[in-house]
Symmetry: C2
């Protein structure tokens, strides 16, 4: 039996209690300062108020001030914060994880740097480690929504990190008849692919709203969604190349894009925008919902624009990303640049 | 004004009358022996009984015995037969197309050869040309359902062929504000990508049926669909490599896979199989429906198995294709080989 301490009691981390408990391990679920109510209710009834599922009986719950106790004797730490908690995690949790305890994060995203390069969260956290501290920081990517994982539907994901042996050890704790885990030491490739899909899921969802605007709510037109899907795969492949990730990770990107398009929050904002709502109005309609897609799209576009200024890429190769950025950050109306997607290869 | 003669009055060819007529060209739509009723009704009312749309007024209609008249003065010939009409087209139409008239086909598919290699329809037709005859044979690939094209939704496709100038000339006749055309001289890559998606759309659709079996008709589970989508992209990329097509064509494959999963016939058979119906019963339920996915999956699996016998590929790299083939051709029950999808990359 191993002890796994989860920091962040969001939906994905909480859904990941099922396979690990089933494998006979101890799980300690620690709330962030934002998770206080979640932990309170879990302690009362084992019911997760956001995931809307009852967690396994034996999960142990902790509020954030009890985190040091929760880390005692831990074999693995799982980081379950959202993109918005990345710095909080760096400042408050990274320094107190023992050097010999590997960590794995469900947080998906990338951070753009001054020179236009982007780094993954594992790399960012490594750069934020206190001087002299060493930590094995791993990540989880791939198409997996928390609800369906909690319901034990089949899900396939990738664990990535620098050391394959560490990944194998962590996988043994998480794998389940319904949770299928591939391993990769290409951290940049996996993390970049699954981060980018957020931005592009918004792009594809625009077509959902455009069709609804023209023909009525609920009408689905798949040719235009598929065209944007193909364009997304193309731009994501180019971005993978740019950041030095293996192109084969498009597998995770495409799968993750697929599930995100059907998944909820990102589809909602894309659909509202496609219907013709302004970005500000759409954000107001979705008030209180965390939208990582907005953060990722903005960051990626910013990075690509800076690379273009330095002559390293051609903005014309990223027409969909640029349009999504124009909508989000420059008040542009939705007007898909279809003709810019056309190419000639000979 | 140019004259375009379409041979085959199926849904896709008929939908392609709209942009070409709008561009001011003459379209002559010739039915195959199977299209007699379609042409009869079109002559009466311009209404296409399968596409369920009224075609543009000025389209001219021909029964198959009038094909030579329809070809007189044609600038381009469009082949609109299905996979099942490929040999009929080779025997009856190819010989009577003048050498200087380029042809473009909407037929998607590939043919497996004795040695396990597969060839595209354009290549197959080239091999079937009468001795000494030369013909420019081009193809159309990409995610585009006929209904949505007829309704002038935005669709993005690829025209492929040996000569970029010919492709540009044909594109000029077809392009429209809602019909976006990329060009590629990588015929194998484009044709292979869009043919394969038929087989894999069936594979992804299995997850639709499995979820319905467990939870009731209409329930959608996207994690498992996305996992199969990712696995499909992976196997399709490998197959593209095998046939010598550029991997970047996965853009068309992924987009086309996306639209096919939502598109109708292939999804139906996959869903029925996923629910637990035997292949024979499912085919009976869908009696009369042409299922190119079955043909493509069977041919591709056969080719891959033969390549494996010759030591050229490892069957373990194609677990989803093999499972689909086992279901279709060996009476196997649906039992997704999830663990075979797991990989290690380091």
């Amino acid at each position: 039996m191993s002890i796994l301490t989860y920091v962040g009691a969001g939906q994905m981390a909480s859904a990941l209690t099922y396979p690990v408990i089933e494998n006979g391990h101890e799980v300690r679920l620690v709330g962030t300062p934002l998770d206080r109510e979640i932990i309170d209710e879990l302690r009362r009834s084992n019911f997760h108020i956001n995931l809307k599922r009852t967690l396994p009986d034996s999960v142990k719950y902790y509020q954030v001030e009890e985190v040091e106790e929760a880390l005692k004797g831990a074999d693995v730490v799982l980081c379950g914060v959202s993109s918005f908690g990345v710095d909080w995690f760096a400042e408050n949790i990274l320094p107190i994880i023992p050097d010999d305890v590997p960590m794995i994060a469900v947080t998906k995203g990338m951070i753009d740097q001054e020179d236009g390069s982007m780094i993954t969260y594992p790399h960012y956290w490594e750069s934020r480690l206190p001087e002299g501290k060493k930590l094995s920081i791993n990540g989880i990517g791939g198409p997996c929504t928390s609800y369906e994982l909690a319901d034990k539907d089949n899900s396939a994901v990738a664990f990535c990190g620098r050391d394959i042996e560490t990944l194998r050890k962590i996988k043994a704790m998480f794998t389940a008849p319904y949770y299928h885990v591939s391993l990769s030491t290409d951290v940049i490739g996996v993390e970049c692919a699954v981060a980018l899909k957020n931005a592009y899921a918004l792009g594809v969802s625009l077509a959902v709203g455009i069709a609804e605007k023209n023909e009525g709510i609920g009408v689905q037109h798949y040719n235009s969604q598929a065209a944007l899907f193909g364009q997304s795969v193309k731009e994501m492949k180019q971005l993978l190349n740019l950041v030095g990730g293996g192109e084969e990770n498009i597998i995770y990107g495409a799968g993750d894009l697929y599930v995100t398009i059907f998944g909820g929050r990102t589809r909602k904002i894309g659909t509202l925008l496609g219907r013709g709502m302004s970005f500000d109005d759409a954000m107001e309609e979705l008030a209180g919902v965390t939208l990582e897609s907005i953060v990722i799209a903005t960051r990626t576009a910013k990075a690509v624009r800076r690379l273009a200024e330095n002559g390293k890429v051609d903005l014309a190769d990223f027409p969909l990303l640029m349009h999504v950025d124009d909508i989000i950050n420059k008040g542009a109306e939705v007007d898909i640049p279809w003709k810019a997607f056309e190419t000639e290869k000979f």
